[in-house]
Symmetry: none
Subunit: 416 residues, 2 copies
């Protein structure tokens, strides 16, 4: 049995201790380490306080193989992670040429000159290896001492994530011998956690002991994570594939993808394959549907655009919804979303039109149509229909759940 590789995560910053920001970094780092077989042993948050930083470094070094630090690397004087690290490793800050080139290039790409303050960021402890930051100005640092590794990264989440993925995780994987751990993510939409759990109970019960199952629910979707641990990569891969195949037999309609598949992307690929163009008419989703569609690179191949109709006058004047329809049935109705979907399809000249109209909340509900009542619409040359959703009280969650339901509606309509 191989020994477990243990990690400590340290978050540095007064803003974490004061509670002014939620530390999402350490959760993300844990998940990524877990995927490559590293176990997080402790997480600690300390302030921008040199004594405290030195203390926690010493403590962490005693229990863990890898210490990952985020935060406290900004160019201003309240960021003291770097001087603390220099002191800890008994080294001095020197101008790092690679870091200087990197930060100079970063500013140049923005059409700006390097300020003195940002030039200071290229000074690193002389015993560390420089880690490039492609998304910001604070370089990362890689230290090694007595077989332990210490990595310091910026606290800005997208900078830290890029650095982890491009540099840190690959280097850690090289450095340690780890058991083979393979994950398979089965992406599911259109069914709740407890119903899903009932449907797949027998399958779950019959899983072999080297495969672990986790439910990862996330706003309208559920990911089933299958984790296989062992020595033979190829065998594990085959085992996982076999289990996914079994699952597909049990819940064929709810699985929309595997691993990195994203619902909007899966739908986009279906549209592309069928050479279909699409446009949207949004009321309660307020542009979020368009945003989700356009986050997919290449979406301009099939997505024409959207009309966000936040006033009824836009629904009638631009989308051609009949005033009488709104007066008779209301803006949140089957009739209205049908006319919106058909209207935008014709106006934009696309093959498919989709629409949303609902009471997203937190106010605006009536007895007949409470907050959370949402209609979504679909129109192509053969059919136009609406579908009702009954959601909850949270505005932002309702917007996002509506978009997921629309994607699933397109997926099921094209798939059938």
């Amino acid at each position: 049995m191989m020994e477990k590789i243990l990690a400590d995560i340290i978050t540095i910053g007064d803003e974490i201790l004061y509670g002014q920001i939620i530390d999402t970094n350490s959760q993300w780092i844990s998940t990524e380490l877990d995927k490559i077989g590293v176990s997080v042993f402790r997480k600690t948050a300390v302030g921008d306080n040199k004594e405290e930083i030195l203390k926690i470094l010493k403590e962490s070094e005693q229990r863990s193989d890898i210490i990952l630090i985020t935060g406290g690397l900004g160019p201003t004087s309240d960021d003291i992670t770097k001087p603390a690290l220099a002191e800890y490793f008994n080294s001095k800050l020197v101008l790092n040429q690679e870091a200087l080139e990197d930060v100079t290039k970063f500013f140049k790409s923005k059409g700006k000159d390097l300020s003195e303050l940002n030039r200071q960021q290229a000074f690193l402890p002389d015993v560390c290896r420089f880690i490039s930051n492609k998304s910001g100005t604070a370089p990362g640092m890689w230290f090694e001492k007595n077989g332990k590794i210490l990595i310091s990264m910026p606290g800005v989440p997208f900078e830290m994530k890029a650095m982890m993925q491009q540099e840190v995780l690959p280097k850690i994987t090289q450095k340690f011998t780890m058991p083979v751990i393979l994950h398979k993510m089965v992406k599911i939409v259109g069914i709740g956690e407890s119903y899903l759990s009932e449907k797949i109970a027998d399958w779950e019960h019959n899983l072999t002991s080297d495969i672990k199952l986790a439910y990862l629910p996330h706003l309208g979707e559920i990911t089933l994570r299958l984790t296989a641990t062992g020595a033979d990569k190829e065998e594990l891969r085959l085992q996982l594939d076999k289990e996914v195949m079994k699952l597909r037999g049990i819940i064929p309609n709810y699985i929309f993808g595997i691993d990195d598949d994203v619902l909007a992307k899966v739908v986009g690929a279906m549209l592309l394959k069928n050479k279909l163009s699409i446009s949207s008419a949004e009321s309660c989703t307020g542009g979020y549907l368009a945003y989700m569609l356009t986050t997919i690179p290449g979406s301009s191949e099939y997505y024409w655009g959207s009309v966000v109709a936040y006033q009824n006058v836009v629904k009638t004047n631009i989308l051609g919804v009949e005033e009488q329809t709104i007066n008779e049935y209301g803006a949140v109705s089957e009739q209205t979303v049908k006319e919106m979907a058909e209207g935008v399809r014709k106006k934009f000249g696309t093959d498919i039109g989709i629409s949303s109209s609902g009471i997203a909340g937190p106010t605006g509900g009536t007895e007949e149509k409470p907050v959370g009542t949402v209609w979504i619409g679909y129109s192509d040359k053969n059919q136009t229909f609406g579908k009702k959703l009954m959601l909850g009280n949270d505005r932002d969650i309702n917007v996002k759940l509506t978009c997921i339901a629309i994607f699933n509606m397109i997926r099921q309509t094209l798939g059938s």
Copy 2:
């Protein structure tokens, strides 16, 4: 000078270390403690592991006056916080009558009988005081030892929050004499961290020692947090106000709000105050601008809607951009965003029209217009203009930074 009251927060649970859930409890607890003048000194997350729990309790006791623990109080065998606490305090678990009555009442209110597993939850270490849990079955525990206080609470957020508000915070306030701590957040947009820091260096240098300054940067915005500590609340408030006034004198154009102000909301309030309606024509922001505008409750008072024109044919057919303009200058150009802004303003009949068109990336750049080149446009009855932004390579960040730049453009245009 009063001594600071220090607290340690300990989160117990394997699911935190694996990254399966984000720990939001410790952030919430920090904020509440901060309000009553208790400073959080460290936050630690450890697993469901008795050795580790005993270790962290010992460490925390040495540095802090108050130790708050969440998690590991469930009825199942992997929850071991209670036996660990009993061992730590050298005490034994006994049936606590108050706790038994409380949990019995809880089940009764749900129309259920007490199960044996839940009856076990009423066993508490004999040296602790019982804390009632109005929202669940796991009681809280209050320990005192050598002038230090240790509080154990359930990990379920709404149970913990109710317990803190109803029982724990009032008891802490009674127990300690605390200094007054006041925060003031100054919200800034349109300037980078290092430039800002240079501009306000003299002011920062002259701050009195009882005011601390922190930079909290966040995607296109920076919050300056001023923290004043002392004895007299009214005096501190005046001091903070004075410093904010000085700041306003130094960087008047960059400050968009104070404390909880949100840029989209500040802009919305300006529109409302001036009785102006607005519509948008979006290309590279792909609906996100509309989404941000519509997340503000009451935005339907001034926001009519958006046309997301992801194809040039939508720009010409729906928005009325001249085909010749696109052919001559390109879709990403000053001329095009001006025609888009003016087009949507006229089409929707609003007072103001705004627009975006850019190369959000990751691909699609040319030598002349590299990825990150974005034009934003503004039009009202008196003027129509465009503004160029040079952003980075990350598609999603570019979209969000473009929206912030548009809000700032509206703010500055209406403010002047």
